[in-house]
């Protein structure tokens, strides 16, 4: 074993160097130098991560927990039951779970950085873009590597900031005609909605700190494992942390920001709003799996919210007409899958799906970016079509990712989705399983609807766009190809025993030391025939979804409109996104504005009024007193004399 894993603190620092370099000199340097710096720092972080994880793998499974501290951050006073002094370190920790995360974050992040050098080549603010991107990488790695909740929270807020900055990157451009938002508004919306979740997160964090006197993951989980903390407290903390995760990972009811986050440039959508940041909630919940295992009520909430989000978002994906919005709803839906997996105790499956989803969803977004790039900025899939011949590489990789997300054997999505479905079923959550299976069918349907509308049929835009449609440059297609191979092969690390005939689920064994032993995985060996049947069912549902999409959008494209008019109420419901934005407007925003107006009026009339009244009193007093100022010196002298006489009389009469 070498000592590379001792250098994990350097991993988040490396992209920060890129921030410093490009942030100070970026405007003077050429685009080539800026791009090379940005990609280079992320590549270095990736290589260092590889070395550190290799190091980690040399250790025996139970010893795979390497920490590195940059010193004490907060020496807190005596907190907690024992009254011992609590200390929060700038601590970083590498264990199998964070190992998976740093490899995904730096690996996919590097590919997206490379892609972005091509995608952003013609945009203003090239250097600014990469400063934000590198800062994001740094914060995301801090989030993942933090050895205590507070360091994670620093990263958590940092990625939120970068998300805000990057969503509003084209801050002066209009974004959504329906709501009249600009890109800057979309960024603000994301930031504010996240604040709600973060608020709960902080409360949960403080609750944990005051109860246990520590925020270190390992100490907290050890305390919980040895029976520390009351049941009610664990449930409360679990729920509070989950609300935080809901904000970051766009779950009901806080998912509304993610579709609007598509205002950001497409590489941002791929990196932040598909592959990495939005999965931070799943990561955090999984990281706390030992706590959730002792709070079954909280887990039930996680499972229900996750499953509901998976279905709910999938239906909205069916009617969306913006290529990126379809993918955004798809992301919300897939995140719901991950939470559902976490909620039923299939922790490995949640992280497995997180990883494969990072591959194929980043690929889908980058493919969509390539399409948008080739179409001169057009994002409406109703104005696309037939691009298969114009953009062969983009098409080939996009269809790979689509098959992967639909869960077709043997692509990555099949294995991870199947593991989640099996986890839900085998742990007795048949309702969750049914909802997820239905969502899987919908996912296959809307993804193939998207593919057919974009790449097949006749082009529906103007011929000018069609003539200019072209394949993207090498810097964009190469990352597509790499991600496509990962989308194919990424699932093979977690092939279930039933298919291979023996236990070759590397992924499961790798993660096991980091996670709470879930009941879903214990039962895995017992019901092989059921597992096989479920697998076939999931595959069948996906194929039905694809077939339906083929029948409608490939065979009879005109049928879509008539189906929409037949089911007008449902179509309107989905098309208008269940009026959730309007609901929030009516239920939260309007009362809030009304309250604000009330307080503004209170301030103006009562608070300011009190100040004004005191001024008026002084004024009136002055008006009365000025009558003594006659301007006649003799009057003053007379008053003076009277005063003297009065004082003399006083001293003469008052007895000593």
């Amino acid at each position: 074993m070498t000592d590379v894993s001792k250098l994990i603190w350097l991993i988040p620092i490396l992209p920060l160097l890129g921030v410093a370099w490009n942030g100070t000199l970026g405007r003077r340097l050429g685009k080539g130098a800026v791009g090379a710096t940005a990609c280079g720092t992320v590549l270095l972080a990736f290589l260092l991560s590889l070395g550190a994880v290799w190091d980690l793998a040399q250790l025996p499974p139970d010893a795979r927990y390497v920490t590195a501290s940059l010193g004490t951050w907060l020496p807190l006073g005596p907190i907690g039951p024992g009254g011992e002094a609590a200390v929060v370190d700038w601590g970083f920790a590498l264990d199998p779970l964070s190992a998976v995360m740093i490899l995904v974050v730096t690996g996919v992040g590097f590919l997206i950085h490379v892609y972005a050098t091509g995608y952003m080549a013609h945009e203003e603010g090239f250097a600014r873009f990469f400063v934000y991107m590198n800062l994001f990488m740094s914060m995301m790695l801090t989030l993942v590597l933090g050895s205590n909740l507070l360091v994670t929270f620093v990263g958590w807020e940092g990625v939120g900031l970068c998300s805000y900055l990057l969503i509003g990157f084209f801050f002066d451009r209009p974004f959504d005609a329906r709501t009249g938002l600009t890109c800057a508004d979309a960024g603000r919306k994301a930031f504010l909605v996240n604040r709600i979740g973060d608020f709960a997160f902080v409360i949960g964090l403080l609750y944990l700190l005051t109860t246990f006197g520590t925020l270190d993951y390992r100490s907290v989980l050890e305390t919980v494992a040895t029976g520390g903390g009351s049941h009610a407290m664990l449930v409360a903390v679990g729920l509070l942390l989950f609300i935080g995760a809901c904000g970051k990972s766009a779950q009901i009811p806080l998912y509304v920001w993610l579709p609007d986050a598509m205002a950001g440039p497409t590489p941002v959508s791929a990196l932040i709003h598909a592959a990495t940041m939005v999965t931070a909630g799943v990561y955090m919940v999984t990281r706390m799996s030992g706590l959730y295992a002792h709070a079954p009520e909280a887990m039930a909430v996680v499972a229900v919210v996750g499953a509901a989000t998976a279905l709910f978002a999938a239906t909205m994906g069916i009617t969306a007409t913006d290529i990126k919005k379809v993918l955004a709803y798809s992301t919300v839906s897939q995140l719901g899958y991950m939470f559902a997996a976490a909620g039923v105790g299939a922790w490995t499956a949640a992280i497995f799906h997180l990883m494969t989803h990072a591959f194929f969803k980043a690929l889908l977004f980058l493919g969509a970016g390539s399409v948008i790039h080739g179409q001169g900025g057009e994002q409406d899939i109703r104005k696309m079509g037939g691009l298969k011949s114009k953009m062969p590489v983009t098409f080939a990789t996009f269809i790979t990712a689509t098959l992967a997300i639909a869960g077709i054997f043997p692509l990555a999505g099949f294995f991870s989705k199947d593991e989640i479905l099996w986890g839900a079923f085998s742990s007795g959550h048949v309702g969750v399983w049914a909802v997820l299976a239905l969502s899987a069918g919908l996912t296959a349907f809307y993804m193939f609807r998207l593919t057919f509308l974009v790449f097949y049929g006749a082009h529906r835009g103007d011929h000018h766009t069609w003539d200019h449609a072209h394949e993207s440059p090498r810097s964009m297609t190469v990352p597509l190809l790499v991600l496509a191979s990962l989308s194919v092969a990424g699932g093979w690390v977690g092939i279930p025993a039933i298919l291979a005939g023996r236990d070759i689920n590397v992924f499961h064994h790798w993660l096991a030391p980091s996670l709470a032993g879930g009941h879903a995985e214990e039962g895995a060996a017992h019901a092989a025939s059921t597992e096989g049947a479920l697998m076939a069912a999931a595959l069948a549902v996906a194929i039905v979804g694809i077939g339906l999409a083929f029948a409608i959008y490939r065979r009879r494209p005109e049928a879509a409109a008539s189906i929409a008019s037949t089911f007008r109420p449902v179509y309107a419901l989905w098309r208008n996104l269940y009026w959730v934005d309007e609901l929030y407007e009516a239920v939260i925003l309007r009362p809030f504005y009304a309250m604000s107006r009330f307080f503004a009026a209170f301030d103006r009339f009562v608070v300011d009024g009190a100040v004004n009244v005191s001024g008026i009193v002084v004024d009136i007093t002055g008006q009365l007193l000025k009558l003594f100022q006659t301007g006649y010196v003799r009057n003053y002298a007379l008053l003076f004399l009277m005063g003297v006489v009065a004082i003399l009389v006083y001293f003469a009469t008052v007895p000593r």
Partner: protein
């Protein structure tokens, strides 16, 4: 020796004359002179008490008052000259710049 009470009565009479002058006269210079009269009547009372009690303190006060009177006369006259240049009069009823 004269009866000190007679001298004190004289002092009080002079003081009252001064007060009456300050209150009734309109010319600024007359008012200043009346103030001098009041100060000097007070000096007379001090001297009288010094004579009665035989200590030096009251006489020291007299010197203070005389110094003050000189300073007051200098400052007062300077003000009166400035006022006269400004308003062309020394009638204090005409001078009411600070009145509302």
């Amino acid at each position: 020796m004269i009866d000190p009470r007679l001298v004190l009565v004289l002092s009080a009479a002079l003081f009252s004359l001064g007060v009456a002058g300050v209150l009734l006269r309109r010319g600024a210079i007359s008012i200043l002179m009346c103030i001098e009269l009041m100060l000097n009547s007070a000096n007379l009372a001090f001297i009288t008490f010094a004579r009665v009690h035989g200590g030096p303190e009251a006489q020291i006060y007299v010197f203070f008052v005389m110094t003050l009177a000189a300073a007051e006369a200098a400052a007062g006259l300077a003000i009166v000259i400035a006022l006269f240049r400004l308003k062309g009069t020394t009638d204090v009823d005409e001078i009411s710049l600070l009145k509302w």
